[in-house]
Symmetry: D2
Subunit: 411 residues, 4 copies
C-alpha cells in the first residue's frame, strides 16, 4: 500500500469524517495493539441500561484524534506556535492515551491486573510501540508523561477539559441516547487559547464550560454510575474474583489462554515483559464474555449463578441509600438467601454486599480549568463563574448501596 | 372544508409532525388574530447575532400545543384523570398564551403599548375569541387566569417548568444554533406527574431539571441578553420613543395606520375596546421594520441615525461592566459625539446611555419546581438537588452596560 | 474596528460555525447591499406551508461561503493548485452570487422588475461593489461571468452540483423540516476533484450524487412547488400586477417609496443607473408585505381581496391536474364567483385562472455532472449511473393546475 | 416485580424513548432467547468499515416494536379497525421476526446451520416461546406465517415497506454515519393506510417512497455490500468452512461447546429439537470471535492465516469487476501465493477466489409497494411514480469480484 492510500478517512456519525493526518498515524492504527481496541467497549456493561451503548475504545480514540486536529488548528490560528513535530506528537499521544485499557474498560480495571492503572499500561504499550517505530513516539511519550517543557500540551491530553473528555462525553451521549450529556465540543475548542503556557478558555466561553461540567456530572449519575451499570460491573468483578479463587484451588476453568494466564498469575506492573504485554494485548471483551457464557454451566454454584445474571440480564437488586448503612443491614438478606440455597457463610458475600460510589464533577485539587479574562489574567473557573456554584460541583458526592438477590426478602 | 380536512398536520423540524387535535383548535389557528403571529419573530432582534433566529411566535405556539399533547398523554398514562373538556382547554390555553405579543415580542413590549404586559393582552384576545366562538374558550380562560380549582393545569401553562419554556428553549436553541441551549423536553415530560394537585417531576428526573435550568441560564446570557441583541433592542425602543416625541410635536411620520394610531395615542389597558384590539392585531414586525426603513431617510438626525443603525446592522457600541458605573462615565462620550454632530444636550441620550440587565435562572419567590421523592413527599428542586447549587442559580444577576456611537473616543 | 475583530464567526445550526476568512469578505458582508439580504426570505411564501421556513438569503449566502471553503480545502489537499487570489475570488463570487434577488426571492422575480433575471442584477451589484472596493472583485466577476480560463471555478459557483445547490437543499430541508431533502454536502465535497479543468465527482461518490438528485427533485415537488406555495406566490404576483394596473390608472397606492418607484416605472436592464440600483436595494420582503397589509383595506375589491388572502392565509383553492385542462374548464368557477361578487369579465382572471408548473431534476442540456472513473476517464452521471434511471430524471415534468375562490362551486 | 415496574422505557438515540406496551411483551424481552440478541451485531462485520456500526439485533427489534406502535396508532386514527388482540399480535410478531438470527446476522447465515433460513429459525423460536407462554403467541405466529385473513398485517411485518426495513435503514445509517441512508420513517408511517386489505401509501407520500428506495439501494452498495464488508464476511465463512473441515478430519478445535456442536454436526431444519434449539440459542458473536482469536494461533496454516486477517483487520484484497471474469483470472494470484507459502492446490481456494454480489432495490416479483391514489384506486409504485425510473430500480444488479492476498502480484 502506498502513501496515498494511507490518507484514509473514517466515517463518524458525530463529526462526519475523521481524517488520518499522516502515514505514521495510519500505521499505528493498523497495529494489532490498536486494532484490539475494536473489541473493547467504551462504556463497559452500560449497554444493559442503554442498548445503543456498544461503541468501542477504537472509535473513541479516533474521535479524540479528530478533535485534537481541530484544537491544533484553532490554537495555530490564534498564533500559538506549534511545530510539525509537536503537532504529530499530540496526535500520537491522544490516539494512544487509552490503549492500555483492558476488557470492558473501567469496569474490570482492577480485576484482571490488580493495582495497575490503565494509564500505566498505556505507557507500556507506547514504549513498546516506540521501539517498533524506531523512536518516532519519543516526543509523544515525553508529553504524555508530563516531562515536556510546554505544559499546555499535556493539558490537551489529560486535564479536566481535555480532548479525551470532550470526545467521550459527546460520544457516550450520542450512542446511549442520553441527550443531556451532549456537549458542544466545537464551541469549547473554538474558545481555547494558550496563555503563560497554560491551556485556557476565553471568558466568553464560560457558559460552555459550565454546561460541560453539568453535562459531565449528569452523565456520571445517569449513565456511568447508573445503578444497573454499577451492579452489572460489580457482578463482573465478582465473577473474576471467584474465577481466580477457584483457579487457585486448582480447578481449571474453561476459557481463553490469555485469560487463563491472568487467572493463574498475579501480575504486577514491574513484571510486564514484552511477552506479558502481548498476552495482555490478546485480552478483550470477547475473552471475558465468552468465559462467562461457558461458566454459566459450571458446577460451582456461585460462579454459574453470577454468570447467568450477566448473560440473561437478570441481575442482583441494588438499592441506593443516602446514608452509610448500618453494619447489620445485610443480615436478613443473607439469612433469607442461605435458607434457599446452600451457600457458605463466606460465599454469601458474592450475593449480598454493600458499597459506595463517588463522583466529583470538578476537582479543585487537580489542574483547574482556567479562564482567560479580557484583561489577560487567568482565573480558575470556580472563581470566574459568578453564578453556577462550582464550589458545590467540586464537592465529592458519595452514595451508598446494598445489593442482594431478587429471590429474597423483597421478592 | 369538512371536518376531516381539518385534521391537519404541520411539519416541524424539531418534533417531526405537529398534529392539530380537533377542528376548534384548527379554527383558532386559522383566525387572523393567530395568523398574525406568523409575522412576529420569536427572538426579536436576535437574528442580528444568530442569523438563523427568524422563527416566529406562530411556530412556537404550535410547538407548545404539541408538547402539551405529550404531557396530557403521559399524565393520563400515569393515572391522572383529565376530562376531554379539560384536555381541550389545556390545548387552547397553551396555544393562545402568547397571542398578545406585539412586534418583535419582548423587544418592544413596553414601547408600543406602555405599561401593559403581553399576558394581559393575551387575555383580552382570548376573551374576544371566546365571544366569537360562543363560550368554547371559557374553561381555557379560567385555567389561564388561575381560577380553575385544579392548580396543576395552570402550572402546565405558566410556571418555571411549563410547556412554554420547554418549547422556546429548544426551539430558540435549534434555530439560533446555540446548541448548548437544547433541552430534552421529551425526557422532562416523561418524568412529569401530579401529586396533591401539584405538577411534579419524579426524582430520577432531577438531573434533567438541573440541565434545564443551566440551559435556560445559558440561553439568557448567550442569546436573549447577548450584548448585541440588547443594544439592538434598545435602539428599537429609542426609535419608537423618538417617533412618539416627533409625533407629539405635530410631525407626521410616514408609517402604517395602526402604527400611527399607537404613536399618536397613549393607550392604557382599560382603553382596549374591540376596535383598539383589532388595531393592535394589525401590528406586527412588518409595520415597525418598514417604518424604520422609511425613517432612515427622515430629516430628523436622531431618528434617521438610529434607523440606519438597525437597517445596516451598524449598531452603537456596548460595553459590559461588572460594577455599577460612575454617574459621570458617559460624559466624555457625549462630548466627543456632540463635537462631531449637532445634537442637543437632551437628544444626546439617544446615542450615549447606560443601563443594566438582570437575569435570575430560578426564582424562589415564584411557584417552585417540585420534585416527587420516592417516598411520595414533595421537595423544592432547590432542596432536592444535592449538588448543583440551585440557591446560587436563584440569585438574580445584574450586569451593567454603557452604549455609545462607534465614531467617538474608542473609534 | 481593527483587523483582528474582523475574524468573525457566525453560529450556524447546520455547520456549527461559519468563519469569515478575511477582512475584505467581512467588509462585503457589512455592506448595506448585503445586509439587505437579511430581509429577504430564501423560500418566498413557503412558510405558509412549512412554518419554520423563515431563513434568509443572508444566511444562505454565508452557508455557501462556508462550503466553498471546504471545497477549496479538499481540492487543494488533492493537489489542485488554487492561488490565494483565486481562492478569494471564489469566496467573493459565491457570497454574492444571489445578491440580486428581490423581495421573496424567486416568488416575485418578474413582478417587480420585469424581464430581468436575478443573476443579471447580481452582476450589477457586484460591479458597483467592485467600484467601491477599488477593483478587488474583478477576478470574482470574471469567474462569475464565465470568462476566467479555469472553467471548474465557475462550476463551483454555478452548475448542477454547485455550492449554491448544496447549501440551499440542506438549509431548506433543515428549516422546513422536510427531512428527505437533506443531503450529505460534506460527503459530496469530499468526493470532488478536478480533471481536465472540469469539476468532477470521484466514482465512489456516485450514490451520493444520485441521492442528491433525488433529494432535489423531492424538494421541488414537496416544497418549492408545493401547491400551497404555488398558489400563494401566484396571488403575490397578481397583487403586484393589480397594483401596477391601478397605479397606471393614476391611483396612488400607499406603500414605501422604493416600491412606488417600481410600480410607476417599467424598468429594463439597460436602465439601471447607480441610483436605480440603490432604489432596488432598498426593496425587500418588508416593503411588499407591509404594502399588502395596508392594501387589504383598499377600496379596490380585487386588490383588497387578494391581499387579505395572503395576510390571513385564506388562499384560493388550487387543484392539480395530470392533463392540460380543457379551455372551458374555468367557466363555471367564473360564473359562480361573478354571481356572488361584482367583478368584471376582465378582472375575474385575478380569481379564477389556470397554469402549469414544470420541473426537471437534471438537465442534459446544461453542463453535466461529471463522474471521474477509476481509469481517469470522465462520464456524465447519466451514463455512469448503472441503475437509477437518470434519463428519466432529466425529463421535464409538467403539472397543470386551476385556481379558484373557495366560495364557489366546491365550497 | 409487579406489573407497574414492567411499564419499562428504553432510551433510544433515534426515537427518543421506546415504551414497552404491556407485560407480556416485557416478559418476552426478558427471555434468554431474546436477551441473546444483545450479543448479535446487526451489521455483521461492517464495523470494520464503519467503526460505529456495533448496534445489535436486540436494539433493532426494539426499534421495530416502536414504529409498529406508531403504525398502529396512525392506522387506528384513520379508521382501520384493529382489535386489542391483533395489536398485541403485531407487536409480538415484529419483536420476534428476526429472533432466529445467528452470530453476525446475515454474514454467517449459511455457515453454521446450512440451508436453513433465519426466518425458519425465527418461527421455531416463536413456537417454542408459544409453548412457554401458554399459547399467547398464536395469533402472532398466524400473522407471521401469512395465514391470518387480514393480509395487511403481514405486510407490516414483512414486505418491501415493512417496519423491519424502516427501522434497519434508519438505524444502520445512524450508527454507521452513512447519512444518506437515513429515511423519514415518521413520514412514511404517517402516509400509511389500508385499502382493500392491502397496506398502502397515500399518493402524496410517493416522493418519500422513492427516497426510501434510493436510500435502501445506497445502503446496499455503500454499507451492506461495501467491498470491505464483503471480503470480511467471506473470510468469516471460509473460517467456518475450514473449521468444519478440520473437525471432520478428527482434529478438535478449541471453542465453546455450542459452536463445537455445530462444527461436528450437520443440522437440518427437521432435526431441530428443543435441545438443539437451545444449543443454537447459546451461540452468538462471542463464540465465533473468541474461537477466531484462539484459532489465530492454530497449527493449521489456512485456519490461522484467515483468523489473523479478521483479528488484525488485515484482510484479503478485493477487486470489483463490472463483467464476469475470465475463468483463468485467478491463476497468476494462486501461483504467486503458492510460491511464497506451502499451500496445497485445494487449499489455495481459501485465499484466492472469485464471486459475485447482487442487489435489487425493488422487486417486481414480490408484493409491490402500493400507492393509494386520490380516486381510491391502487397502483404499484412502479407505475405510480411518473419520474424516477423504478423499473430500473427493480432490475437486479450483479457485481463480480476477485479476492487474493496482498502479498502477491499487486503487493
Amino acid at each position: 500500500m502506498n502513501a496515498t492510500n494511507k490518507l484514509k478517512i473514517f466515517n463518524d456519525p458525530i463529526y462526519g469524517f475523521i481524517t488520518i493526518p499522516n502515514s505514521l498515524i495510519y500505521d499505528l492504527i493498523q497495529h494489532p495493539y490498536f486494532q484490539r481496541l475494536r473489541r473493547i467497549s467504551q462504556m463497559g456493561m452500560t449497554y444493559l441500561v442503554y442498548p445503543g451503548a456498544h461503541h468501542t475504545r477504537f472509535h473513541h480514540a479516533l474521535g479524540c484524534l479528530h478533535i485534537m486536529q481541530k484544537a491544533v488548528q484553532t490554537l495555530t490560528f490564534k498564533g500559538v506556535a506549534i511545530s510539525d513535530e509537536e503537532e504529530n506528537a499530540l496526535y500520537i499521544a491522544i490516539l494512544l492515551h487509552d490503549i492500555g485499557h483492558g476488557p470492558f474498560s473501567h469496569a474490570m480495571e482492577h480485576s484482571i491486573v490488580e493495582d495497575v492503572h490503565h494509564e500505566q499500561l498505556s505507557l507500556l504499550f507506547m514504549e513498546q510501540l516506540n521501539k517498533d517505530f524506531k523512536g518516532k513516539l519519543s516526543l509523544a511519550i515525553e508529553i504524555f508523561k508530563g516531562e515536556y517543557h510546554r505544559k499546555f500540551m499535556l493539558q490537551l491530553i489529560s486535564s479536566q477539559l481535555d480532548m479525551d473528555r470532550m470526545d467521550y462525553l459527546r460520544r457516550d451521549s450520542f450512542y446511549s441516547g442520553v441527550a443531556e450529556g451532549n456537549i458542544n465540543s466545537e464551541r469549547l475548542i473554538q474558545m481555547m487559547n494558550v496563555q503563560d503556557d497554560y491551556l485556557v478558555i476565553e471568558e466568553k466561553g464560560i457558559y460552555s464550560v459550565e454546561k460541560f461540567l453539568v453535562a459531565r456530572r449528569l452523565m456520571y449519575w445517569q449513565a456511568y454510575l447508573h445503578k444497573t451499570s454499577v451492579v452489572a460491573e460489580l457482578i463482573l468483578t465478582k465473577i473474576l474474583k471467584r474465577a481466580k479463587e477457584l483457579t487457585h484451588k486448582g480447578i481449571t476453568l474453561e476459557c481463553s489462554k490469555p485469560l487463563q494466564f491472568f487467572l493463574q498469575n498475579k501480575v504486577e506492573l514491574t513484571h510486564f515483559t514484552k511477552e506479558i504485554l502481548d498476552t495482555f494485548s490478546y485480552l478483550d471483551d470477547y475473552d471475558v464474555l465468552s468465559a462467562i457464557k461457558t461458566w454459566q454451566f459450571n458446577d460451582d454454584f456461585v460462579l454459574s449463578s453470577l454468570c447467568k445474571m450477566i448473560i440473561n440480564r437478570d441481575l442482583l437488586k441494588i438499592r441506593m441509600l443516602e446514608e452509610k448503612p448500618h453494619k447489620d443491614i445485610l443480615n436478613p438478606y443473607k439469612e433469607a438467601f442461605m435458607k434457599l440455597h446452600e451457600v457458605s457463610e463466606k460465599d454469601i458475600d458474592y450475593f449480598v454486599f454493600k458499597g459506595k460510589i463517588k463522583n466529583q464533577a470538578y476537582s479543585k485539587e487537580s489542574e483547574p480549568i482556567r479562564i482567560l479574562k479580557k484583561d489577560k489574567t487567568i482565573e480558575d473557573v470556580v472563581q470566574a463563574s459568578d453564578q453556577l456554584n462550582l464550589k458545590a460541583l467540586s464537592k465529592p458526592v458519595t452514595k451508598y448501596f446494598i445489593c442482594f438477590p431478587k429471590v429474597t426478602l423483597e421478592a
